[in-house]
Every structure is written in structure tokens, then in C-alpha cells.
Amino acid sequence: MIKVSGLTKDYGARRAIHNLNFDAQQGEIVGFLGPNGAGKTTTLRILTGYMPPTDGEAIVAGYDVVEESLEVRKRVGYLPETVPLYTDMVVFDYLKFMGDLRKIPNVGARVDEVLDMVGLTDRANGYIGNLSKGMRQRVGLAQALMHRPEVLILDEPTIGLDPSQVVEVRALIREIGKDRTVLLSTHLLNEAQNICDRVLIINKGKIVAEDTTENLQARLIGAERVILRVRGESDDLAATIKKVKGVQGVETKSDGTVEFEFASGKDVRPEVAKQVINAGYDLLELRPLGMSLEEIFLELTGSDSKKK
């Protein structure tokens, strides 16, 4: 649904994005992750036909974003970073206006439907100017959903929402992502981890990593690290675990827990658990210490800047 090759954009002398290549399939939620100024918004703006790239090519929903911009725009729903709203309009009229621009038949009924999806039915006749930031964000999302787009492009979709709304909006995005393509940008790592099937990490205009969230973690760690906690004394615990084949890097922490590693794919946890229990300990916790996306992110973007 989205295919990007060699995409480059210059703002004057500054190169905002450099030779981006990626794609996204139907029914896939792809996260675009990166620090501020990494080129996320620029890329999304090119994909929505807002502005043309300096170089390279982008195909969205089967059409070239430069040559067949109008066809692309018909098929894309877009929520920009600054939610574009006419504050002096009533929510219903605003959505109707957007629906009319997209030539939706029976637009009134569709507005009601979309308002229900984002949970704003009771504010349909309120002025947008009187809505809270979270509600405005949802009106923006409603606008992007009006024409049942094949591709949904969301720039920081959960920014400014309160925690329960974040959960709702993420659930909504996941629901939409089941049969359509969603490309969303975020600088929240747990958000990417939470909703995205695949993550593109972008820094300084270049993609530094691209994989599923699980694979990204596995790829960077190589070995899996596990934390083990027992009730009471744990003096000889390390020695007990070391006996198990495949266990490496055993380390006793000051709080009495023990950490160890095993090579990816060779899960030794069941064996370790048996040994610990047979040795007479009360096993409380045996938990993988997966590297969080945060750490991956810092590793990728941090090491990149160190090289320079």
C-alpha cells in the first residue's frame, strides 16, 4: 500500500530526510519512531501529497504522490501534527465539510457514525473552539476517518490525550489497522511497542532500524537476560543456577535477586525453575529482562551520534 524508495527532501540547504526506503502492507500498522526533528513529519507530508519530495519516489495506494497526487489524496486519511480545525465551526458542520470535500454520499449519516467511533456524539453541536485538546485531537482523527481511507497517516495521534483516551484511541487505531494500512509517527516508544506491527526508527533523516518490535529487541540483545527472585536467603542460589547447562553470565544483585542469560532460542527457564525448587528455595519470580524499546532507541540513535 505504501512503497517509498530513495525519498529525499531538502529545505533549502538543510537535508530533512535522506534516501528513505520502506514499505507498508495492507492490514499493517507501521510506526515511525524518532526524536524531534528526525524527519517524521516531513516524510508523512510527502506521502499525503502536501508537498513533493526533492528526490525519490513514493507510491501510496497504487498511485505516485507527485504524478497522481489527487488520486493519492482521495485514498489517504491524514491527521497532521497540529490538528487542523476551524475553531469557529460546529463539530458536525466541520466533519460534514470535510465529507463534502471528499464527496461522500449521505454525508450526515457518516458524520454520526464517525462521531460515534471517536466517542464525541454528545459534542456534535458544540463549537470546536470550546473543546478540550483531547477532544480536538479526536475530531481530527474523525476527519481522517470520514472517507474510509485505504491508508491512514497519523502524525502523533495520541499527543495531548489523557490516559484513558490514549487507550481508547490506540484501540481504535488497532481496529482500523486490521484491514487498512496505518502509518503513524510517534516519539513515544511504548506507543510504538503497543500498537505497531512494525517499527521504523528514524534519526537525522535516515532510517536506522526497521523490524517488528519483538525482532528489534531480540536482534539487539542476542541473548536473553532473566531475573530470578526467591523468598528469604539466596546465598547459594547463583551456584545452583550455574549447574544448569546453557546458563551464562550469572550475577547476584545486592537486593538478593540473581540475573542470568541464555542464548536466544535456547530457553533454559523451565530447567532453572526445577533446579531452584529442588534446592529448596521458594521461587517468587522468573522474568525476562527484555530490553525496552527505549533502550534500543537510545542505543541506535545514541551510537549514531557518537560516530560523528
Binding site: 480545525l85 470535500l101 464527496k103
Partner: protein, 248 residues
């Protein structure tokens, strides 16, 4: 085409939510009302003393276009620049709408608003028609109102073009006003000074196509072409400004 109408309709409705539109409408109607009242007063006085001519609408329409010079910048300044400021430009530029449709829609919305205002002023000729026997000169009425409509179109064309070029409303307002002042008062001035080629300046002069012809009942193709060309030029400038903004 439907996109133009959708955008025009929103713009038209929007005028009725904006204080500026009411201020402009009020100012125009108030000034025209005073001028109309004074006119009727002097015409009747003259008529009692058996001189003067029969009243017609040219005094009203003549004052109307003058008011347009001053008020159209206020009506057009925010048309496009406001979208840029509010971030809604991103919405319109990523909607399946051509840049030209956007600009024409904006212009049409403002034009429909002015047409509504023009329709309200028709009350003066109607009153006048009832005061005068055997009624006012309908040819002058039609031609003068055609002139007002064409001038509105041209003024709004220029205004929309400038509003699309500048992202700041105040800048758009003053540059539109300066352009009008130039085309209305200044550009025709060299015609009386230069020895040859003065006709060019007279042709460019916006008011020369109105006061001497349309407002006194003379409809010439040249005048119609002039105003329509100015409108088209303004809309073309506006569309180009949007396109340039994309590529920047």
C-alpha cells in the same frame, strides 16, 4: 466543480460568523443610506425649483464602488492567510482538491457575500423608482449594477490572490489596499502628463471602466473584458502562490 461550491459555501457561511463582515456590511449600508437620503433631498429641492435632472442610481452605485475599494481588503485579507495560520491549509492541501479549485472557491464565497450585500442595496433604486414618475432609467440601473458586480469580482480576485501570497493577514490587508489605491487613483494619473501612450494608463485605471461608461448606462465589451481579466489574473496569482508554497 463541486469542490469549488463546497469551499465557497463554507466561506460564505463563515462571513456570517465573523464580525468583520458585519462591520463592512454595516458601514457600506450606512454610508449608502446617508448618500441616498441626501440625494433624494437635493433632487426634490431642485425639482421644486424646476431644474436639475431626474434622479438615477448612479449616485448610489458610484458611492458603493468607492466603499468597496476601502472594505474589500478587510473581506479578503483572511481568506487564505487564515488557513495558513490555523494549520487548516494542511487539511485543504491534502484533501482531493485542486489548488485552483481552492482559490476559486474562496473567491466565490466572498463574491456571493458581496452579491448578498449588493442585493440589499437594491432597496434604494426601488424606493427611487416609486418617488420618480415615470420611474427611473432601468438601463442605467442594470448597467450600473453590472458594473458594481464586475468591480466586486475584480477587487475580490486581487484580494484573494494577495491573501494567498502572504501568510500574514495584516500584510495581506495593506498590500491589497495599496494595490487598490494604485489601480483606482494613481495608475491613470500619467495619462494626462505623458505626450503619447496615455491610453495605456487610462486602460489600466480601474475607475475609468466604471464611472464613464457602466455607471452612466453604457455597456462596452472592453470594460467587461477588463474586469474579468483582472479577476482571472488575481485567481491565477493565488493559485500559483499555493503551488509555489508546496514546492518550497
Amino acid at each position: 466543480m463541486r469542490n469549488i461550491w463546497t469551499i465557497a459555501k463554507r466561506e460564505y457561511d463563515n462571513y456570517f460568523n465573523s464580525p468583520i463582515a458585519y462591520v463592512v456590511a454595516f458601514a457600506i449600508l450606512l454610508v449608502l443610506g446617508i448618500i441616498f437620503g441626501l440625494n433624494v433631498f437635493f433632487f426634490t429641492q431642485n425639482a421644486f425649483q424646476n431644474f436639475g435632472s431626474a434622479p438615477d442610481v448612479s449616485a448610489i452605485t458610484g458611492a458603493f464602488v468607492f466603499m468597496l475599494v476601502l472594505s474589500v481588503p478587510a473581506l479578503t485579507m483572511r481568506l487564505v492567510s487564515e488557513e495558513t495560520r490555523m494549520g487548516t491549509m494542511e487539511l485543504l492541501l491534502t484533501a482531493p482538491v485542486r489548488d485552483a479549485e481552492l482559490i476559486i472557491g474562496k473567491w466565490l464565497g466572498a463574491f456571493l457575500f458581496l452579491l448578498s450585500l449588493i442585493a440589499v442595496t437594491l432597496v434604494y433604486p426601488i424606493i427611487l423608482n416609486n418617488l420618480v414618475s415615470p420611474g427611473i432609467d432601468l438601463r442605467v440601473l442594470l448597467s450600473a449594477y453590472l458594473g458594481v458586480i464586475l468591480l466586486s469580482s475584480a477587487f475580490l480576485g486581487i484580494g484573494v490572490g494577495i491573501s494567498a501570497t502572504f501568510s500574514n493577514q495584516i500584510a495581506a490587508f495593506f498590500i491589497t489596499l495599496i494595490t487598490f489605491v494604485f489601480l483606482w487613483w494613481l495608475v491613470g494619473f500619467p495619462a494626462s502628463v505623458v505626450p503619447v501612450g496615455g491610453g495605456v494608463f487610462t486602460y489600466l485605471d480601474m475607475k475609468s471602466h466604471f464611472y464613464n461608461t457602466l455607471n452612466v448606462g453604457v455597456i462596452q465589451l472592453g470594460d467587461l473584458v477588463y474586469y474579468i481579466s483582472i479577476t482571472a489574473l488575481g485567481l491565477f496569482v493565488g493559485t500559483t502562490a499555493i503551488e509555489i508554497r508546496r514546492w518550497r
